[in-house]
Amino acid sequence: MDVISADIVIIGAGGAGLRAAIAVAESDPSLRLCLLSKVYPMRSHTVAAEGGAAGLIKDNDSLDNHFHDTVSGGDWLCDQDAVDLFVNAAPLELLQMEHWGCPWSREPSGKVAVRPFGGMKIERTWYAADKTGFHMLHTLFQTSLKYPSIQRFDEYYSTDLLVDDGRCIGAVAIEMRSGRMIAFHAKAVVIATGGAGRVFPFTTNGAIKTGDGMAMAYRAGAPLKDMEFVQYHPTGLPGTGILITEGSRGEGGILVNKDGYRYLQDYNLGPPDPWPRKKAMELGPRDRLCQAFWHERKKGRTIKTPQGDVVHLDLRQLGEKKINERLPMVRELAQSYAGIDPVHQPIPVQPVVHYTMGGIHTDIDTATALPGLFAAGECACVSINGANRLGSNSLAEILVFGARAGRSAAAFAKTNPFGSTGGANRGADAAQARIRTLFARDSSGDTVSGLRKAMNDTMESGAGIYRIEATLLESCRILAELRARYENVQLQDRSNVFNTDLIQVLELGAMLQVAEAMAHSALRRNESRGSHQRLDHPARDDGSFLKHSLATYRGAERPAISYSDVVITRSPPAERVYGGSAA
C-alpha cells in the first residue's frame, strides 16, 4: 500500500475541518498537513446550516448571558468550563470570519446584524440572510486556498484509524477515483466528520452524514459520549425533511395547530403576548418545541397530511419584503419542495432529526482518550451542548473548537515523533483485508438499502422524541441482529473506480455502530433530560444521572456504558424556565 507521511492528518473538510486546517497552517506553515474528505469541501454539510452563529457582539449582551442560556438550554449536562471557553472565544472567531470576507448581514450603520434565536435571552445570532452555513463554509474553503501547506485529498474516504501502542498514528483512506487504498502516517490526527443524522429515517442531514468519524474513533478505542442525546428540529418540511430555519421564528414566525391556535402556550412556554418575547413561545428551545408537537399530535390537534402530521409555521405577518431580505432560501425551499409561498400561505412543518449532541469524547482542548487523536465539531462532544443544543451555537462551535483542534494537533505533532512503521503497516493491512473480504464475499446476504431501512425504522420507533424501556430494548435487540447480518451484507459493485456501493456499505457499518451506541446509552439513562425523554422516567434525576455517558466499543458485543462527572463551575443545576417567567 502506498504511504503518505504528514505531521497532521485532518479527516473531514467541513467547517470544523477547514478551520482546523487554517489554524495548523497559521500556527506553523512548515507543518505538513493532509486534509482528507469524502466529498469536495464545499459539499460538506455545514453548507446546509441556515439561521446563524451565536457570539457576543452587542452592548446589551454579556458573556454571562450566553453562558447561562447555553447551560440551561443543555439542561445542565454541559461542561461549564468548556462553555466558558466557548462563549469567550466565539466573538473573535466570528470577527475572524468577517475579516475573511464572510458576507454577514448588516445594520444600516454597517455593523454586523444579529437576530433572536431559540432559548437565547438576548439576540446574539450573527447571520448571512438564511444561508449562514453556506457562506461560512465557502468563506472557509476559499480562505483555505491561501495556505500552500494545506494539501487537500478530496474524495478520499477514510476507513480506519491507525493505532499502535495506545496512540493514534494515522489513518487509512480509499482514493475514490481509483479505489486505491493509501496509508497516511501522521503524528496527530483530527477528526471533523460531522454528525450522524442518517441513522434516522427522517432527517435534515445530507446523505453524507453517516457518522464515519465517530465510528472510526469508537472502533479505535475512543469512547463516544452522550450519544443518547439526538436533537429533533421542530420545523422540517414533510416528506423531504428539509430544514426551515429557526431564524424564521427569530424574525417573527409563529407556530399554530389545526385550529390556528398558538399551542406552545399550553406547554409552559407562554403567555403568547407580548410577542416576540425571548426564551418564550416560538423562541423556546428545540427539545421543548418538539415535545409540544408530540403532545399536540396525541391530542389530535395537528393537521393530517399524506406525509404525516404537521403544524403550521406562519410567516405571513412578516410581509414579502422582510421575507425576501431575511429568509430568501426559506421562501424558495417552501415554494419548490412544499408547493407553497410563505408570503401568502403557512408552511406545513414537523419535527425532524437534526443534530447529534453526543460524539467522540474530548477534553476542553479537543483531545480524545486516544493520544494523538483530536476531534471537533458535531462529531465531537466537548461538551458545550449538553442534553440539548441551542440553535446557532453549533456554527460558532465548529470555529472555536475547529481552531482549537488545529492548534492542539500542531502542538502535539511538534513534541511527538511518528509512530512505529511496523504498527502502522499492520493497521493498514488489516484495513485493506477488511475491504478485500467485502469484494470476495458471495452475494447471498442482505442489501445495503434493506439493512439501512431496518436500522432507520428501529431508531425511529425506539429512540425518537419520547422513549420507553420496552421499545429501547427492542431497538437494541434489532440493532445487534442487524450488526450480525451486516457481516454478510452484499457488495453488488465489485469495481474500483468511484464505487459508491462500496462507500455505502462502509457508511452503513459506521451507522450501525453509532446507532447501537445511541440506543444503549438511551436505554441506560433512566431519567428525562433535554432531548432524552423517557416516558417511564419522566423526571430529571441529578442524583443518578448528572453524568456524561460513555459508550465503549467491544467488537461484536454490545457497547459498555460507563459514566463520568459533568464539570459544574458556577451554575448549579436548577429548573429550566422558559416563557413569561424566564428572565
Binding site: 466529498v39 454539510h45 453548507v47 446546509a48 475579516h99 458576507p103 448581514s105 444600516p108 454597517g110 455593523k111
Partner: protein, 257 residues
C-alpha cells in the same frame, strides 16, 4: 434482493429513465441503460436515481448529499439541460422519457460522476479570498459594511459550485483553459467587496485571454444558474472595469498600477 418493494410502487404510474453509464474498467465507451421507476408527484430526478440505486441497480454511481439545492453535488444533464437532480421535478417530465447524462464539457470519471480537477484549479487561480492591504487587528472589531455595500456583491456570493454554467457555456466546450463563469464571478465578488483590495492581484488571470476575454456573452451560464448568480453580468462588468483600467494606465501613467 432480500427487501421487497412496497406494493403501492408496483401499482403506480411509472417513468422511464435513460441513464448514461460508463465504467472505465468494464466499458470502452459510455452507453445508455434504461430503468423503470415509479412516478411520484413530489419526487425529483435524484429521488428516482436513489430508487434505482436502492432497489434496482446498486452499481449506478452519482454524487449527491443535501437534497435541497445548496451543496452543489448533483449537477447533471437532464434531457439535455444542465440541472441539479435534486431540483428537477419528475412532474415536469411526466410524459416521455427522462434522459440523464453527466454534465457536458467535463471528462467522465464514472457514470454520472465527472472529473472536476480543472475546475478546482481554476477556482483557486482567481485568488477567491479577501485580500486586504493592511489587515485590521481582530480586537478592533468588524470592517463596517453598509447594506448597500453588501448588496453590491451579495449576488455573486451565492454560487454553489455546481458547474451547471460550465456545462452550458459553449466556450467551456471549445477551450478547456477558459477560466469559466463560476470562477470569474467569484473573482468579481471579491473585487466588489468593500473589504477587499486584491483586484490587481486577480487581474493576471481574470483579465487574461483565457479569462473574461474568452467569454462571447452568450449568457447561457446565467440562464442555467440555479442560484441566480448571473455570471454573465459579472463577466461583462469585469470587462468594462478592466478596459477602463487599461485606458487609465495609458492615459494617466502612474495613476493606476
Amino acid at each position: 434482493m432480500t427487501d421487497t418493494m412496497p406494493l403501492e410502487v408496483l401499482t403506480l404510474e411509472v417513468l422511464t429513465l435513460e441513464v448514461l453509464r460508463y465504467r472505465p474498467e468494464i466499458e470502452n465507451e459510455p452507453k445508455f441503460q434504461t430503468y423503470t421507476v415509479p412516478y411520484r408527484d413530489d419526487w425529483v430526478v435524484l429521488d428516482a436515481l436513489n430508487h434505482v440505486k436502492d432497489h434496482v441497480d446498486a452499481t449506478l454511481s452519482y454524487r449527491w448529499s443535501c437534497h435541497m439545492a445548496v451543496c452543489g453535488s448533483c449537477g447533471m444533464m437532464i434531457n439535455g439541460e444542465p440541472k441539479l437532480a435534486c431540483h428537477a421535478f419528475l412532474r415536469d417530465y411526466r410524459h416521455g422519457v427522462i434522459r440523464v447524462e453527466p454534465l457536458d464539457h467535463f471528462p467522465i470519471e464514472r457514470d454520472l460522476v465527472i472529473v472536476m480537477d480543472r475546475f478546482m484549479e481554476k477556482l483557486a487561480s482567481v485568488k477567491p479570498y479577501a485580500i486586504a492591504k493592511a489587515e485590521k487587528p481582530l480586537e478592533e472589531g468588524e470592517y463596517l459594511q453598509t447594506p448597500l455595500q453588501l448588496m453590491a456583491f451579495k449576488q455573486y456570493t451565492q454560487c454553489i459550485n455546481c458547474l451547471l454554467c460550465y456545462a452550458a457555456c459553449p466556450q467551456c466546450g471549445l477551450n478547456d483553459n477558459f477560466v469559466g463563469p463560476a470562477a470569474l464571478a467569484l473573482a468579481h465578488r471579491y473585487n466588489l467587496d468593500s473589504r477587499d483590495t486584491g483586484k490587481d492581484e486577480r487581474a493576471d488571470v481574470v483579465a487574461s485571454n483565457e479569462g473574461i476575454w474568452e467569454c462571447t456573452f452568450v449568457g447561457a451560464c446565467s440562464e442555467v444558474c440555479p442560484k441566480h448568480v448571473d455570471p454573465a453580468a459579472a463577466i461583462q462588468q469585469t470587462k468594462i472595469s478592466a478596459s477602463l483600467d487599461w485606458f487609465k494606465a495609458r492615459l494617466w501613467p502612474g495613476a493606476h498600477p
